[in-house]
Symmetry: C2
Subunit: 549 residues, 2 copies
């Protein structure tokens, strides 16, 4: 099956086969490889000048992307912009947002779906006019209305103060990261907890802490059949029953229409998601919506959506220099494919964003950790890097030793804010906490890029550690939405550039399949039968290690 | 200055210069490089046999290290053991534990200290007999007695239920990871919080939640001058004062004797640490001790120390095959230096260990993220890898796509337990949560190593992703102590093998220095003066970006 992306121009049709065959034969890629032999040396006298720091930035929606500390000069930047054009990145973003079928591998069985998370928030200015995107937005808006009504009902009088979200992967990481980021904006008394792991200790710890009578439980699974989630749901219901409470009066589901979890006999309400929303792209759908609207209030949740939507529009800007997610994607590709750097550290200088790197880890690695292109051919270049990170300044007292002086160069993506969320701050020795935080962020950016010479080899810092900074005014719901969509779109752009399918996750299937086989072996043991080792001898061999002497 | 390591034999003296000059000229390294050209293929029929899974493991202190899923055959294992001998790993561990000065760079200004975290717990069987180690243990034991007395005092009647530990880097990561791991063993009503970041939002969130009147604050800084910690201490005191409480009656310090924080005018008590305890190795000293003993009770804290101590003795075993931390270090070196893998993912299948990867990230990357050897010469091979990870099964729904099918191979270190911590578990569809957790762990280990063939390129799993499993009975204080020391000693062994100084952290200094300059610029702005841009023009240029339009 051939995926047609209608708006590509004739030129694209002509060069298509060539491009599909070899990323490395692209003109811009050849040029970038030449440039990578002698990349900009940030440690050279005068290179990281105040003027460069001053002028190498772009801004959108109150977010500044500062990139003077990347190893990119004028020629490289211009070749990267050529790459964007040669790989039709903006056209592909248009195709995605209007609902073309981008989640597909040509000629092989694949999910074959549109990718429409951007439609989950397209309720504000200049909504997409494609019928497919419009329809998806209409459906999403209806769920939003349903949620508004549901909250109104359970809030007068207030029936719940706590919420426990049960879900795993995208049904936890994104919602938890955003909830943690915006805790400062919670409605008084409202609190959310997240239960994901099948580890029974995880659930026990939460349900001991909350007042079950005042607790709403949101169970999230698109298929309605995620093993961990169903297990945890049963586990949770057990706690309610033992406390003499009826789970049906406390549980709501977020799931696909018609799934086993779309069941009024079991749930107070069910909110819908669709197969064109990947788990890792689902924060702005009902997957994040129920919890965020419950804890922050509907108005703030809408502000969050408005920010995300505005950034989606930025991702459509034709001028790549004004398209922040695209620009960021290009720097990432330079570091990954041309400077050969295997990882990326995301370091928010904001404690509220402590879980955001874990979300980006999924978003990026599950999207772009791929080894075949969209035609099913193994790639001969590197795709998505390893994403990791912890908030600063903490990281400075941890892994920064390695970042400054280790043998593996790590490019960094910093995130910072001019103002803190709470107004509580204090002046200590002439500067505020927030100022100290920003001073550290800027100092690290400079130290990593410029390095330091010394006669003592232990005090030598080689420098040339590329990094860039996303700098916002303040981490509020709107800005959080914009940052989330900035990353979602950055990841999509990189996948477009590599011509891989960023929207499936076939790589998680094998482990799942084998786990079910071992679970069967456990079940066999429990009923006192011997394991049939032939069907899965490796699993049986591991189980033998569990016997205690 | 030349560091003498007294017990090395004559042979070592002869080969010293050669070894120091070039890791790559070692006989075993040459052999390992040859073997790496054709490493064990775990995807070949019959290679990962039940027999291999059955017999390729070693056990100590109830912990099994299963390594059948590493890309190591008999020849490679034997060459790795040769490497251990050629680089005198066990002699160096002996030298460390008896207090030789290992924290040094020859011929250059350096910290020039012993490394004696193992002495912080050497109170049990067969204590080290070296006078230096003995003296360090004696001092540590005196602090333990002091702590016992202090807790007795504040517990009858109970004055505190909450504890806030203020510290950053090693003064937070290790203690928080262990506290989180052992929460199931808390004394009823006792709870700890950790405050590290200079982000003011971090502190505000904690102090809003706790009952200050019942809160003990532990401020940890070896030097008594860590910027973030002092800032947070002032910030915390402010909350107490505003609540009409006297900080002196709530604050204790953990610091070096004679530091600015060793001050009875300011603190209810001060507990001591010494310059031979690196921050990242300090969990078993008073840095972790006050919080862990307060929340778990002294008996459980002692159990934790006993486990760590027992593993230190395992690390001295002469037979490298029975020396678990050494064995693990060798597999790591195989993956890093011979298979060329830049990162390591640590994946505990245990929610309680959720913060443990962050601790290991510091422990390993700050220790071994180095670019010069102990003679001050730049290395020409890779040192410590990038360490990252999240608990399983969560990771499976996140970055496992990339681990299975990405272009960058990631070796994994799994941690799992036969039993859960809480007795609360339930049978769902014939198996318990804990069984599901273990089934997933084993399934991933097999899937990653064996891979899968398929006609659909998207369903091809290349396999040969090396991994090993540390499998314990149950995560209790003793086992936690043993696992902590297993990693501490593993990291030390790798540093010994690379002949780098794993015990300093000069790489964090430059950023700190530049941050102070920018803080000065903030202070200047605050008093209304213009910044003197000449002294640090790059800092000044960044500050201009903070002006809002």
């Amino acid at each position: 099956m051939l995926v047609r992306i209608a708006s590509f121009d004739a030129c694209w049709e002509v060069h298509r086969e060539l491009y599909m065959t070899a990323f490395r034969h692209l003109k811009s890629v050849i040029r970038l490889n030449e440039l990578a032999e002698d990349p900009l040396d940030l440690t050279s006298d005068g290179v990281l000048s105040p003027k460069r720091i001053d002028s190498w930035f772009k801004e959108a929606l109150g977010l500044k992307l500062l990139f003077g500390t990347e190893r990119v000069g004028d020629n490289t930047l211009s070749a990267l912009l050529d790459l964007a054009e040669e790989t039709h990145l903006i056209e592909k973003m248009e195709a995605m947002q209007r609902g073309d079928i981008l989640n597909a591998i040509e000629g092989y069985e694949s999910e074959n779906r549109s990718v429409l998370h951007t439609a989950m928030r397209d309720f504000f200015e200049q909504p997409n006019e494609s019928p497919i995107a419009k329809e998806a937005s209409k459906l999403a808006y209806a769920e939003l209305e349903k949620l508004k009504e549901f909250l109104r009902e359970v809030e007068s009088p207030e029936r719940f103060t706590n919420l426990v979200q049960i879900g795993i992967g995208g049904s936890e990481l994104g919602p938890k990261a955003i909830y943690t980021a915006l805790e400062a904006f919670r409605k008084p008394g409202r609190k959310a907890f997240f239960l994901s792991n099948v580890d029974p200790d995880d659930g026990a710890a939460i349900f001991r802490e909350v007042d079950l009578a005042k607790t709403l439980v949101v169970v999230v699974s698109k298929s309605g059949s995620t093993l961990e989630t169903l297990t945890n749901e049963e586990f949770a219901k057990d706690f309610f029953k033992k406390a003499g409470l009826d789970p049906k009066k406390h549980f709501v589901s977020v799931t696909g229409k018609g799934s086993p979890m779309d069941d009024p006999q079991q749930y107070l309400a069910s909110f819908y998601i669709w197969d064109y929303i990947g788990g890792r792209y689902s924060v702005t759908s009902m997957v994040g919506g129920v919890t965020l609207a419950f804890t922050l209030g509907m108005d703030r949740f809408l502000e969050f959506l408005r920010g995300a939507n505005a950034m989606d529009k930025v991702a459509l800007r034709k001028d790549p220099l004004e398209n922040l997610p695209l620009l960021s994607a290009l720097f990432g590709i330079w570091n990954r494919n041309f400077l050969g750097l295997p990882t990326v550290a995301v370091i928010p200088y904001s404690q509220a964003l402590s879980r955001f790197p874990a979300h980006l880890q999924q978003l990026d690695m599950e999207s772009n950790g791929k080894r075949i292109d969209k035609r099913g051919k193994p790639v001969d270049f590197d795709t998505g890097p390893i994403i990791w990170g912890e908030p600063g300044t903490n990281g400075q007292h941890s892994f920064y030793q390695s970042i400054h002086q280790g043998t593996t160069v790590v490019p960094l993506e910093f995130i910072g804010f001019k103002k803190s969320q709470y107004k509580t701050d204090m002046i200590y020795e002439g500067s505020s906490c927030q100022e100290k935080l920003l001073a550290n962020l800027f100092a690290q950016s400079i130290a990593l890029s410029m390095g330091q010479k010394s006669d003592n080899p232990n005090k030598v810092f080689p420098g040339n550690r590329p990094n860039r900074i996303l700098l916002g005014e303040k981490l509020d719901p709107y800005t959080m939405g914009a940052i989330l969509a900035y990353y979602e779109n950055k990841v999509a752009f990189q996948g477009f550039c590599w011509n891989i399918n960023s929207f499936d996750q076939e790589g998680v299937q094998l482990g799942k399949k084998l786990a079910l086989k071992i679970i069967d072996q456990f079940v066999t043991l429990r009923v006192g039968k011997p394991i049939e080792t032939k069907t899965f001898p490796q699993g049986a061999a591991f189980l033998k290690h569990l016997k205690s002497e």
